[in-house]
C-alpha cells in the first residue's frame, strides 16, 4: 500500500493579497452578480468548446462583507504584494520540515471554474522543496510546500446562481504534500499527527473547525489510486486509510472472481432494456412516483454476477452501492436495485420481478 497526505492549513495572518483581516463575515456588505467565461489554461484535456459552454451558463452571486473583503476579493482591484507575515510563517514551517526555501516566490495561477474564486483562478506559490518528516517507520519525503489563497465558501443556490461569501477568499493557506511513502493506516495517522504538531508549534496557524483539511491518496497493489478529499478529523485518518485499502482489496477480489467466471475479459453486452411498462400499475411507491414524474425504469442483465453485488466492500457499503454511486454520478440515474437484494423491500411484487427477469433474458 502507498499513501500520500496533502495538508491544507490556514495560517494565522491577514489575507494573502490584500490588507483584509482573515475573519468571518459580520455586518453589512455588498452583493455582486457575476458571470465567468472559459479562458486558456483551464481547458486541459477537456474539449474546449464544451468547457466554454459549461462556463457560459454559470452565474455567481458574491456576498462581499465590508469587514472581511475589499475590491481585491471582488476582482475589482489587482492583488497587492504577497503578505510578508504569511510568507514568514510558511518559511518557518519549511525550515521545520527541513525543506529548501526557494530563492524567489513565483505566483502561479490554478484555474478554478466553479466560481469559488472571483477571478476564475487560485493563486499558488512554491515556498519550499524537498523537505522531510522523520517517523517511526522511516523518513517521509515532502517534495513541495506551497502557500496559496483560500477559496470562498459556498452559501447555496439562489435563482439559478451559485452563491458564495468572500470572507474566506484570500485567507493564506499552507499546502504540505508528502510523497506516497506512507505504508499503512497507522503510519498515515502518525504522519498526520506529526505534521499537525509541527504546524501548531509555530503558534501561527489558525485553530478550529475548517482551518485544516487533509486529502489522502491511497493506492494498493493492483488497485487504483484513490483520492479522499477533505478529511477534517485528524483522529480518523488511520481508519480512513484502512477502510480504503480494504475496499480496494475487496474490489480486486470481485474482479478476480468475475474474470474466473467469464474465463477472461468481463463483457456481457451492457444492454439496457426499458422495463417501464411492467411497472405501470405497480404497488411500489418508489416506482409509481418516478413514473408519475415521467421517469423511466431500465433493466440490465448481468450474467455471472449472482451473489457478488451484495459483497460488502466497506462498513455498510456493498458492491451494489458502489455501482449505484457511479451510475448516479456519471449517468444521472436516480438509483440502482438488483436481484441479489430483497426486492420486496421496494414494494416490487414477485410477479413484476418475474416479468422483468423474463423480459431481460428474452431480449
Amino acid at each position: 500500500m502507498k499513501v500520500g497526505i496533502e495538508i491544507h492549513q490556514r495560517l494565522d495572518a491577514g489575507k494573502l493579497f490584500c490588507n483584509c483581516p482573515s475573519v468571518p463575515a459580520e455586518g453589512d456588505g455588498a452583493s455582486i452578480y457575476r458571470r465567468q467565461r472559459a479562458v486558456a489554461g483551464e481547458l486541459g484535456k477537456i474539449d474546449a468548446a464544451a468547457a466554454q459552454e459549461f462556463v457560459r451558463k454559470r452565474q455567481f452571486l458574491y456576498e462581499a462583507p465590508m469587514n472581511a473583503s475589499c475590491l481585491v476579493e471582488s476582482d475589482d482591484e489587482p492583488p497587492h504584494d504577497m503578505n510578508p507575515t504569511a510568507i514568514d510563517i510558511a518559511v518557518e514551517i519549511c525550515l521545520l520540515l527541513e525543506a529548501k526555501v526557494v530563492d524567489e516566490v513565483q505566483v502561479m495561477r490554478k484555474t478554478v471554474i466553479d466560481g469559488s474564486n472571483t477571478g476564475g483562478f487560485q493563486r499558488t506559490s512554491i515556498v519550499g522543496l524537498d523537505g522531510k518528516l522523520r517517523t517511526s517507520r522511516g523518513e517521509v519525503g515532502i517534495p513541495v510546500i506551497c502557500i496559496e489563497e483560500e477559496s470562498s465558501g459556498i452559501l447555496g443556490e439562489e435563482g439559478g446562481a451559485a452563491k458564495f461569501c468572500l470572507d474566506r477568499l484570500g485567507m493564506p493557506l499552507i499546502e504540505i504534500a508528502t510523497d506516497p511513502t506512507i505504508v499503512d493506516g497507522e503510519h498515515a495517522q502518525e504522519v498526520a499527527e506529526k505534521l499537525g504538531g509541527i504546524l501548531r508549534t509555530t503558534g501561527k496557524v489558525q485553530r478550529g473547525i475548517g482551518t485544516i483539511r487533509q486529502d489522502l491518496n491511497v493506492s494498493t497493489e493492483g488497485g487504483a489510486r484513490v483520492e479522499i478529499k477533505g478529511a477534517q478529523e485528524l483522529k480518523l485518518i488511520g481508519k480512513m486509510v484502512e477502510n480504503e485499502a480494504r475496499r480496494q482489496k475487496t474490489l480486486m477480489g470481485i474482479r478476480e472472481e468475475l474474470e474466473k467466471r467469464f474465463g477472461g475479459k468481463v463483457d456481457f453486452g451492457y444492454q439496457a432494456v426499458d422495463l417501464t411498462t411492467i411497472f405501470e400499475n405497480t404497488g411500489s411507491k418508489l416506482f409509481k412516483g418516478a413514473i408519475g414524474k415521467g421517469h423511466r425504469i431500465f433493466g440490465m442483465r448481468m450474467p455471472k454476477f449472482k451473489g457478488l453485488l451484495g459483497t460488502e466492500v466497506g462498513e455498510g457499503r456493498r458492491f451494489g452501492t458502489e455501482l449505484s454511486d457511479y451510475a448516479k454520478m456519471n449517468a444521472g440515474v436516480a438509483g440502482i436495485m438488483h436481484s441479489d437484494e430483497d426486492l420486496s423491500k421496494y414494494g416490487i411484487s414477485e410477479k413484476e420481478a418475474r416479468e422483468a427477469e423474463m423480459k431481460l433474458s428474452l431480449e
Binding site: R35, E42, A48, T111, G120, F121
Partner: protein
C-alpha cells in the same frame, strides 16, 4: 497563417496541420499559425505539450513522420454573412480587450480579425455581421495626436462602406480623451460610434471584456442613436452596461469595472447583457442621413496644467516661452488659481502676471475645475473676474480633459478668433446647460 514560402515548402512535403514532423532536430505536431505572430515561424507541439516556434530558413530540412493529431474540433468558428443583420465594424487600437483562447494551441492571442473576435465571443455573431480591423497597436497612455487621425479616418471609411455602427476597442486609461476628441473630429456623424475596453484583463474568466463587447456591438448595431459614446459596465455586476456621452464621460476609478461615469448628467442609455434590451435615459440624437466629414486638423501645442497651493512660476512660464497656442488650466473650485501674494512671497503675483502675459501673447487660456463635478463660474468672486480681465476664458464646466481635446481641435481647424468664440459654444454636448438637483451627484440620481 503561415507565409507563402513556408506554406509552399510544407505543401511540397505533403505536410498539413496536425502532421507529425521533424524540423531543426525537434519532433512534434505541426500547429496552425495564429493570425498574429511571425508567419515565417513554424509552430510545433512537442510531446511534453509545450509549443515551440522554429524560424524557417531557406532550405531548412523538414521531414514528415508517421502519425498526426486530430485538430478538427479545434477549428476556428466560420463566419457566415447574414443579410438580415446589420454590419458592425470593430476597430482595434491596441491592448487585448478581446483576447481569445487558441483552441489549437491552448495559448491566448489578441483577437483582431472578425473571425478571432467571434471565436472569442461567439454571441457577437448573433447580434451583427462583424467586420474586424486593426487600426494601430498602442497602449492608450501612448496615444498621440496622429493616432486620433488614424481612428477618425478608419471610422469614416467603415461608415462609407455601409457599417450600421462602429466599435473601437481601446485601452481604458485615456478612453475619455479619445471619445471626446472623436466627438469633435467626426462632424455630422450619422451612426453610433462606440468606444469600449476592459478594466480586468481578458486572460481571466471574470474579465469584463466580453460583456462590454456584447453590449457595445449591440448598441452600435441596433440603437437609434448618432454620436460617439463609451460603453462600459454600469455597476460591479455583470448585468448591464451604461452608454456615456463621449464628451461627458470620465474614468473615475483605477480598477473597478464600473470606473467610467457620466459627469453632471445621466448616462445616455443602459444596455442589458442578457436579452440585449436598450433603454434610453433621456433625449438623444437619432440616426440620420447625414454626410459625415472629418475635421482632422489638430494643434499639438496645447497644454493642460493643474494648479495647486505652493506652485512656482517656472511651471507656468514654460508655455509662453515655448510658444503654446492653447492652455487648459485645471483650476480650484469655481475656477481659481494662485494669483495674489503677501509679505511671505510674491510668487503668486508673478504666476498671475505670467498667465496674463500668456493670454496677451495670443494663447487661448481656458479655465476648468479640478473638482470635476460642477460648473465653473468666474463672476462670483473678485479673483475670477480678475482672471477674465487678464484674458482667461471660462471653460463653462467642461471636463478638463475635454477642454484640452476641444482646444487642440479648435485651433487645428479654425482661425484663432473663431476658435476663441467656439470655446464657450456647445459643439458636441461637452457643455452641460443645466445641472439637475440630484441627491447623490456621483450617481446622477
Amino acid at each position: 497563417m503561415y507565409s507563402h514560402k513556408v506554406s509552399e515548402r510544407l505543401k511540397g512535403f505533403g505536410i498539413t496541420v496536425g502532421d507529425r514532423i521533424r524540423v531543426s532536430g525537434k519532433e512534434g505536431s505541426l500547429m496552425p499559425k495564429p493570425e498574429t505572430g511571425d508567419p515565417d515561424c513554424i509552430v510545433i507541439k512537442l510531446d511534453n505539450g509545450y509549443n515551440v516556434g522554429i524560424h524557417y530558413e531557406e532550405g531548412m530540412a523538414i521531414e514528415k513522420l508517421e502519425g498526426r493529431v486530430e485538430l478538427e474540433k479545434l477549428a476556428q468558428k466560420e463566419i457566415k454573412f447574414d443579410d438580415r443583420k446589420p454590419v458592425v465594424a470593430i476597430l482595434s487600437t491596441g491592448g487585448t480587450i478581446a483576447s481569445r483562447v487558441d483552441y489549437r494551441t491552448g495559448g491566448v492571442i489578441p483577437a483582431f480579425s472578425a473571425a478571432d473576435l467571434v471565436s472569442a465571443v461567439p454571441e457577437l455573431a448573433n447580434i451583427a455581421n462583424i467586420k474586424g480591423k486593426s487600426v494601430m497597436n498602442v497602449f492608450s497612455e501612448n496615444i498621440r495626436p496622429e493616432h486620433y487621425k488614424y481612428m477618425a479616418g478608419a471610422v469614416a471609411s467603415e461608415i462609407a462602406e455601409g457599417a450600421a455602427g462602429v466599435v473601437i476597442l481601446h485601452g481604458t486609461d485615456t478612453m475619455h480623451y479619445t471619445s471626446s476628441m472623436l466627438s469633435f473630429m467626426l462632424r455630422d456623424l450619422p451612426v453610433p460610434v462606440v468606444i469600449l475596453g476592459a478594466q480586468r484583463s481578458s486572460d481571466r474568466g471574470s474579465s469584463d471584456a466580453a460583456m462590454n463587447l456584447i453590449c457595445g456591438v449591440n448598441f452600435a448595431a441596433h440603437a437609434d442613436y448618432s454620436g460617439v459614446v463609451v460603453c462600459m459596465h454600469g455597476t460591479l455586476d455583470d448585468k448591464f452596461c451604461h452608454i456615456h456621452s463621449g464628451t461627458r464621460v470620465r474614468k473615475m476609478h483605477t480598477s473597478r469595472r464600473d470606473a467610467f461615469k457620466s459627469i453632471d448628467m445621466k448616462p445616455i442609455a443602459r444596455v442589458d447583457y442578457e436579452g440585449g434590451k436598450i433603454d434610453f435615459i433621456g433625449e438623444h440624437p437619432k440616426r440620420g442621413h447625414l454626410e459625415l466629414s472629418v475635421a482632422s486638423g489638430l494643434e499639438s501645442k496645447v497644454g493642460l496644467l493643474k494648479v495647486y497651493p505652493g506652485m512656482r512660476l517656472e511651471q507656468v512660464a514654460l508655455f509662453r516661452e515655448k510658444g503654446y497656442n492653447g492652455l487648459v488650466i485645471e483650476g480650484t473650485g469655481l475656477g481659481h488659481m494662485p494669483m495674489k501674494g503677501d509679505e511671505s512671497s510674491d510668487e503668486n503675483d508673478r504666476i498671475f502676471n505670467e498667465i496674463r502675459g500668456l493670454a496677451e501673447s495670443g494663447c487661448l487660456v481656458v479655465m476648468t475645475s479640478q473638482c470635476i463635478y460642477g460648473n465653473v463660474n468666474m463672476n462670483v468672486y473678485g479673483p475670477g473676474r480678475d482672471l477674465q480681465k487678464a484674458g482667461v476664458i471660462s471653460g463653462q464646466g467642461m471636463l478638463p480633459e475635454v477642454a484640452y481635446t476641444k482646444l487642440m481641435w479648435l485651433l487645428g481647424n479654425y482661425e484663432k478668433e473663431k476658435a476663441k468664440a467656439m470655446v464657450s459654444q456647445n459643439v458636441a454636448g461637452e457643455i452641460v446647460e443645466r445641472r439637475e438637483v440630484a441627491p447623490d451627484f456621483e450617481k446622477g440620481e
